[in-house]
């Protein structure tokens, strides 16, 4: 049987996937890239979390849910962490749960693109839809990101190769520029390659803005090669619709000036008569959704503290920072592997707390957790809506039954909330 699916391998949420399913097994995956195909395969892997575990012992789902509720109820300061790999409906339940247990709500977005997504919303900037980029953008800039390694289909599905209304020749109707600190694979499809030293993004944005508004700076100020820079400027001046896709490269050493400088440049481009926009290349499939859900429920994007009853927020108090101080005694981790990805001090803090892991795989975090609640693989075994990097909401189309005792994130969260 051939079914259509939406890929949850990254925030592109490719919606043209075709899966051949026979007897509850996947026979073939069409059109998904290596990341997407791997995610679908992972539903059938040996490393899968299939049974609830308490202290490494198999327990019933009811027992595990009861224990999770008890741990959260008795927690002095609980952290609810993850959410970028869960559907919007689950994020909403997570926010309610955090409120209920006076917990701290956060996830990878606070150290990833959460700020970019929030910054744009604060400024009232709505990114264009990727379909509009496909149809109209005649200059695509990849800045501090490397989709050839992270969002494999970004150029072929939307931004560079497709033939659109105003871009009838596809790649030949567009200019492609890549800005990075070293040569990357994405540069293989670029017309202009701007290599800058780390941390010079804001300087480069300012330099480009200056060129557009008639005040000449020196390319050396941004550490960029002169010839390459001016050929890019010439091309930029000929463009009618510029879209900049930017990555974490703009946050050199946690600095936000790169992102802010980029949005200033977008404004200058717009005032010079060129249509321009910027879209962050968030990695996890629903990072945009997690931030948007948090904003609509509390007015804050992430790192939301419900300990005082009412939600509060400080940009400097993220889960990573508070974990490093050993602040949390109980941590519910959903669809994330902080033990594998957080810095050393935060990991030490996490190791001192009791962890409840809700995940489809036995990740490093799940293996070290007190309690494991096996989750269904979003988009493969469970549905809901997810938000693409451009803010477009898509309905997932699951095509397998949840394996073993696994349940959708929403179902697990509802069961825990009910038990509370």
């Amino acid at each position: 049987m051939r079914v259509e699916a939406v890929c949850t391998g990254c925030s592109l949420l490719c919606d043209d996937i075709v899966v051949e399913v026979k007897g509850g097994r996947v026979k073939k995956v069409l059109h998904a890239c290596a990341i997407g195909a791997k995610r679908i395969e992972s539903a059938l892997e040996a490393e899968r979390a299939l049974k609830p575990l308490a202290g490494g012992r198999i327990v019933s789902l009811d027992e595990a849910v009861k224990q999770a509720a008890e741990m959260l109820r008795e927690a002095r300061r609980p952290l609810l962490y993850g959410w970028c790999n869960s559907v919007n409906e689950a994020v909403r339940l997570g926010l309610e749960l955090a409120r209920k247990v006076n917990g701290f709500f956060d996830g990878p977005m606070s150290v990833c693109h959460g700020y970019s997504i929030w910054y744009a919303r604060m400024k009232g900037i709505r990114p264009p839809k990727l379909d509009e980029v496909l149809d109209r953008a005649d200059h695509v800039v990849y800045w501090g990101c490397n989709p050839a390694e992270s969002h494999h289909r970004h150029a072929s599905r939307f931004a560079v190769f497709p033939r659109g209304e105003k871009t009838p020749e596809g790649v030949e109707s567009r200019s492609v520029t890549v800005v990075d600190v070293r040569p990357t694979r994405t540069m293989r499809i670029a017309n202009h390659r701007l290599i800058i030293p780390p941390g010079r993004d804001a300087a480069l944005a300012k330099l480009i803005a200056g060129e557009l508004s008639g005040s000449r700076g020196k390319p050396s100020e941004a550490g960029v090669a002169e010839e390459e820079f001016y050929s890019f400027i010439e091309s930029l001046k000929r463009s009618t619709y510029v879209v900049v896709f930017y990555g974490l490269g703009l946050y050199s050493a946690g600095e936000r000036s790169g992102v802010e400088g980029l949005y200033e440049l977008i404004k200058v481009l717009e005032s010079s008569g060129v249509k321009a926009a910027a879209i962050p290349m968030s990695g996890h499939y629903n990072m945009v959704g997690a931030v948007e859900e948090a904003l609509s429920a509390t007015g804050y994007p992430y790192a939301i503290d419900f300990s005082g009853g009412q939600p509060s927020f400080s940009q400097e108090q993220t889960a990573v920072k508070l974990l490093s101080k050993g602040e949390f005694d109980v941590v519910l981790v959903i669809g994330s592997d902080p033990l594998a990805s957080m810095p050393r001090q935060a990991v030490s803090g996490l190791k001192k707390s009791k962890v409840i892991a809700v995940d489809y795989q036995l990740s490093l975090t799940a293996r070290a957790a007190e309690l494991v609640l096996p989750a269904a693989v979003g988009g493969v075994e469970s549905g809901g809506t997810a938000t693409r990097m451009d803010g477009e909401r898509l309905e997932l189309k699951p095509f397998l039954e949840p394996a073993g005792c696994s349940r959708a994130d929403e179902e697990i969260l509802k069961m825990v909330a009910k038990e509370l």
């Binding site: 043209d16 996937i17 075709v18 073939k28 995956v29 069409l30 059109h31 998904a32 890239c33 290596a34 990341i35 997407g36 195909a37 791997k38 496909l134 050839a148 390694e149 494999h152 289909r153 150029a155 072929s156 599905r157 939307f158 190769f161 497709p162 033939r163 659109g164 596809g170 790649v171 694979r185 994405t186 293989r188 499809i189």
Partner: protein
């Protein structure tokens, strides 16, 4: 002419062409040696061997011109969408969608690009265009054209 000289030159048209036209079509790979029944008679055995020898490099060049190393491929689909032959048989590919037609040159299956119909490539007869789009835009150098 070298090919023509080795053919039976009887213009029997059992292949549907004159021998001269057949020679041209052989070089363009539009017909195969097997289409000429006379060539397989004993008296032409020597000519047939010479023809095979003569045509081998031509056949080989075209057959191996495009090489896809699946172990390097990340399934980005740049080749699928940039390939003009793919777009002509499956218009949804022009909009960046995966190729659902069975007639395409490239398609991504299980996370890697596969060559489904090499003979649809524009480098093959009758087009024989020196198109290198797939090679040019491959992120991982999985595609090479010799």
């Amino acid at each position: 002419m070298d090919v023509y000289k080795l053919l039976p030159k009887t213009n029997c048209k059992k292949c549907g062409h004159t021998c001269l036209a057949f020679a041209t079509k052989l070089i363009l790979r539009e017909v195969k040696l097997e289409d000429c029944p006379l060539l397989f008679e004993d008296k032409y055995a020597e000519n047939l061997a010479k023809l095979r020898e003569l045509l081998e490099p031509v056949m080989d060049t075209y057959e191996t011109g495009l090489k896809l190393d699946e172990s390097k491929c990340t399934g980005c689909g740049n080749c699928v969408v940039v390939c003009p032959a793919n777009v002509s048989v499956d218009p949804s590919v022009a909009r960046g969608m995966g190729a659902n037609s069975e007639e395409v040159v490239f398609r991504v299956e299980d996370g890697v690009a596969k060559i489904v119909n090499l003979e649809r490539c524009r480098r093959f007869p009758p087009d024989r265009i020196n198109c290198r789009m797939c090679e040019q835009y491959c992120y991982s150098k999985a595609i090479e054209i010799y």
